[in-house]
């Protein structure tokens, strides 16, 4: 005798421990929200098919952003509109998993319009649930692409007009017009009969994926009592009386029975080749002095990186200034976090004999690393025969590359000796001028007074430059 009980599905957590605050037993959805009903149908199907453990649920931006509080499955929360793209990646990396991409209408039809079209067009073997409530619910009821003509929202207070905003988009029809999707249906959550039909569609969408049939898309007309300013029963009535007239229900495409299961194995490069393919591994060669690329004749691309406050950006500006005095074309572009001090900062400097196309430095000839993360991050990018200058008083590791000239400089130590930590960048500038011929020390000494207008600052900076210069010349010798 089996006991037939309809109760909370095992596809949900018992308590929603991930939910902040004290209420761990209720979902965060408003009373009467359709998300809850659809969640129940999905959880039930996953449990019944034994797919809960194997499921990766990709939640969107929107009210269902917190689906990971509830579903006892693998969960990823995607950037706005990108759930089908994330789902694509998950499914391709783990073809045996059941990947559900769950999106609202603002997320899927507006910001993620492109992602869903291409995922559908590629026929990714995923199941997409598209919750259409004709409004941006989470942000307070703004117009969505699916908002009806005449429907009042906070951004269309006099009602959506054809002239201003165009027609509501019927996403299911658009998806169904593509070749690849195997199953597209529109259902609604408005009464017992329609919820039962939705339940069947949900199960079919998931079963298609289990059978590796391809892309399934279920659009669900759902309630937003809060956004529509109605009670829950009224909002179900509104779906039946109004929404469904603009979004007709039914199966728009179903070729799941006709198609053969997909071969989900991929043409992957052997994993040993991956580091090289993505540029994490460089062939290690011994440094050949003849291949040295630091000279006046060669255009220099310089990346300077360190903490904010170390003078990373300033050093770049000075190098550009010196370049201008040498009649070179120059560019300088900074990249830093929001912090004035601390945080990471780097800048790209180009000194060129010809006009500069892009100011970005991807593969520097010279890397100046003023802290360890910078060295670790950018070392691999330096071109063969380039140079890595690093502050050895702050960095306790050595560069691993052998095909570049690595130059440890105890810059902070020297700066402290001279009486001011902040001049460590000028010490490095000195070394740069000393070990190669691409900076003329005389020009630098002419430019420094233009930068440091206060006498006491100029003096200490000239001293720092001199110390760096001597150090650089020793290295050259």
């Amino acid at each position: 005798m089996s006991v037939n009980i309809l109760g909370k599905s095992k596809g949900f957590y018992d308590r929603y421990e991930r939910r902040p605050g004290t209420n761990k037993e209720q979902t965060h959805y408003c009373p009467g929200c359709g998300h809850g009903i659809l969640h129940k149908l999905i959880a039930e199907a996953l449990t019944d098919f034994g797919a809960s453990e194997n499921c990766v649920f990709v939640s969107p931006v929107g009210c269902s952003v917190f689906a990971y509080y509830y579903f006892n499955a693998g969960n990823i929360q995607a950037a706005h509109g990108r759930a089908p793209a994330v789902a694509t990646g998950v499914k391709r990396a783990m073809p045996e998993s059941i990947v559900i991409s769950y999106q609202g209408d603002g997320d899927l039809a507006a910001i993620g319009g492109n992602e869903i079209l291409h995922a559908a067009n590629r026929g990714e073997s995923i199941t997409v649930f598209f919750v259409n409530n004709a409004i941006y619910g989470m942000t307070g009821g703004q117009m969505a692409p699916t908002t009806l003509i005449g429907q009042k929202t906070t951004t269309t207070p006099y009602g959506r007009t054809l002239k201003n905003e165009g027609y509501p988009m019927r996403m299911a029809e658009i998806i169904a017009s593509l070749e690849s999707p195997v199953y597209v249906e529109r259902v609604m959550l408005a009464d017992t009969r329609s919820i039962n039909a939705a339940r069947k569609a949900v199960r079919k969408g998931i079963m298609n994926q289990i059978k590796q049939k391809g892309f399934s898309f279920v659009e669900v007309l759902s309630t937003c009592p809060t956004g529509w300013k109605m009670t829950a029963p009224q909002s179900q009535e509104w779906i039946k009386s109004t929404l469904v007239k603009n979004f007709p229900l039914g199966v728009l495409k179903d070729i799941a029975l006709q198609v053969e299961p997909l071969d989900l194995s991929l043409n992957l490069a052997p994993s040993s080749r991956v580091p090289k393919l993505i540029g994490l591994e460089k062939e290690k060669l011994d440094f050949d002095p003849d291949s040295m690329k630091i000279s006046r004749e060669i255009d220099q691309e310089i990346k300077i990186a360190g903490f904010g406050g170390q003078g990373v950006l300033s050093l770049g500006v000075w190098l550009s200034e010196i370049g201008m005095h040498e009649d070179l074309q120059v560019s300088w572009i900074p990249s830093y976090g929001p912090e004035m001090r601390g945080g990471t900062a780097n800048c790209h400097v180009k000194l060129s004999h010809n006009s500069i196309g892009s100011p970005l430095v991807t593969n520097p000839t010279i890397l100046i690393a003023m802290n360890r993360p910078s060295l670790e991050k950018f070392e691999a990018d330096v071109i063969e025969g380039g140079a890595v200058l690093y502050d050895s008083s702050l960095i306790d590791i050595e560069p691993t590359r052998k095909d570049v000239r690595s130059i440890p400089i105890p810059a902070t130590e020297i700066a402290n000796e001279l009486g001011n930590t902040r001049i460590s960048n000028v010490v490095i500038l000195g070394v740069l001028a000393g070990f190669s011929d691409f900076l003329d020390p005389a020009v630098v000494q002419r430019v420094l007074p233009l930068i440091f207008k206060k006498r006491h600052l100029l003096e200490i900076n000239l001293k720092a430059f001199q110390r760096g210069l001597e150090l650089g010349r020793e290295l050259l010798a």
Binding site: M1, V3, I5, G7, Y29, G32, T192, N196, T231
Partner: protein
């Protein structure tokens, strides 16, 4: 009532009082309580008799665990396995509105909406 073979139990703390189950119930045996739960909602409440066990309210409800429906209560009563005495256990409803039952063997009170913690023989 001839068709009253089911039993519905509402978890008062999980219910948000949206009234969808009340509207959906084909035999009209649910109503909103006059009292409030700790979250400030008036939860749905079973009239206490007449549930047919059809399950419509379960699927109408947006909360995953607010409603539990025993489709055939008589079967569930017999199949109950008491956690203490193991044998001879049988459930008796002591408060059908609150969804409370009692084990006849050990006398322990059982919350019917908490069905995942109850064991039934297959």
């Amino acid at each position: 009532m001839a068709n009253a073979r089911g039993l519905v139990a509402v978890n008062v703390e999980e219910c948000k009082g949206c009234k969808l189950c009340v509207e959906a119930c084909p035999v009209d045996v649910l109503h909103l309580a006059a009292s409030y739960n700790t979250h400030g909602y008036s939860p749905a409440e079973y009239d206490g008799e007449g549930c047919t066990g059809c399950g419509v309210c379960f699927y109408a409800c947006p909360e995953p665990g607010a409603i539990t429906v025993y489709k055939n209560w008589a079967d569930a009563q017999e199949a109950y396995v008491c956690g203490v005495k193991k044998v001879g256990s049988r459930l008796t409803v002591i408060d059908s509105v609150k969804g409370l039952a009692q084990c006849e063997a050990c006398g322990q009170e059982v919350i019917l909406s908490d069905y995942s913690n109850l064991s039934f023989s297959e």
